[in-house]
């Protein structure tokens, strides 16, 4: 059998890769993809904890489904914002999107 720690360490690694991507990339789309990676790592942890600690309750799975919904909503709004910014400024590099920087 697979110990719980394997899943947790895998989730931590996936989350850390996502953190790097979100902090280091210049392209707004790449940042969005890195955020999807982080949400996936969280979901993996939620399901792993559900399976190993409370397999007879549904709370872990319900929470994972809510995270799925939030991820879908976040991707839709984020991509709409990127399209809107690209249409107005012709760039998706995050340092050039500085209208609100004071």
């Amino acid at each position: 059998m697979i110990p719980l720690s394997w899943y947790i360490i895998l989730g931590a690694a996936l989350f850390s890769i996502g953190i790097y991507g979100a902090l280091a990339r210049r392209n707004a789309l790449a940042i969005l993809m890195a955020i999807e990676l982080m949400l996936n790592a969280v979901n993996l942890n939620l399901v792993a904890f559900w399976r190993y600690l409370t397999p007879n309750m549904v709370a872990g799975k319900v929470f994972a489904l809510v995270v799925f919904t939030v991820a879908a909503a976040e991707a839709a709004v984020g991509l709409a914002l990127i399209i809107s910014i690209y249409r107005r400024r012709h760039t998706i590099a995050v340092e050039e999107i500085d209208m609100m920087k004071w």
């Binding site: 697979i2 850390s16 397999p55 399209i83």
Partner: protein, 180 residues
């Protein structure tokens, strides 16, 4: 000695982490999106290994089918903005490396302190069919999870309307004024 399940886990973990690494490092956004699909499929494999087959199907249907395709479409719509010859990392990317490794290191250190992590998975008392039925009933039961369920549907509706409004072409004259 590794069992078959462990071998499947390790192979899937290696593929997932490699694909995730390629997502954050590849220079072409189309390649990054395709590697993202690979990562999402890898996570679906772990859902299957964790006896959560329904979530694996949702992962494929929502993430790979909807989100990844949407990302690829937006990559194609905005592909004149940043080419593969442009700089892909910002000036403080080394700080991002430090932050990510610090986070990973401290998480792993914390896990070594926590109890329960060597735990084996307890046997499931219900079959897959019964578990799915239980999940479905729990989502619409007034005494259980109907409020999160309804909040999620309202959130989806708000995101739908919001993204249409944000991405609406808008007034042409305003756009041209902004450009000049």
């Amino acid at each position: 000695m590794l069992t078959l399940t462990q071998i499947v886990f390790l192979v899937a973990a290696a593929i997932t982490l490699l694909a995730a690494f390629m997502v954050v490092t590849s220079r072409s956004m189309v390649h990054a999106a395709l590697w993202l699909i690979m990562t999402l499929a890898g996570v679906a494999v772990f859902f299957v290994l964790l006896n959560a087959g329904f979530l694996a199907v949702v992962q494929v249907a929502v993430y790979i089918d909807a989100i990844a395709i949407m990302i690829i479409v937006v990559v194609m719509l905005t592909r004149h903005s940043m080419g593969i010859q442009d700089r892909q990392k910002n000036k403080t990317w080394w700080a991002a490396v430090i932050a990510a490794s610090l986070l990973f290191g401290s998480l792993v250190l914390m896990f070594t302190q926590a109890p329960l992590l060597g735990a084996e998975a307890p046997a499931l008392t219900m079959g897959a069919e019964a578990m799915l039925e239980e999940l479905g009933l729990a989502l619409v039961d007034v005494d259980r999870y109907i409020v999160p369920f309804e909040v999620a549907s309202v959130l989806l509706l708000a995101a739908l309307v919001g993204s249409i409004i944000v991405a609406w072409p808008g007034r042409k004259s305003q756009d041209q004024e902004d450009e000049s």
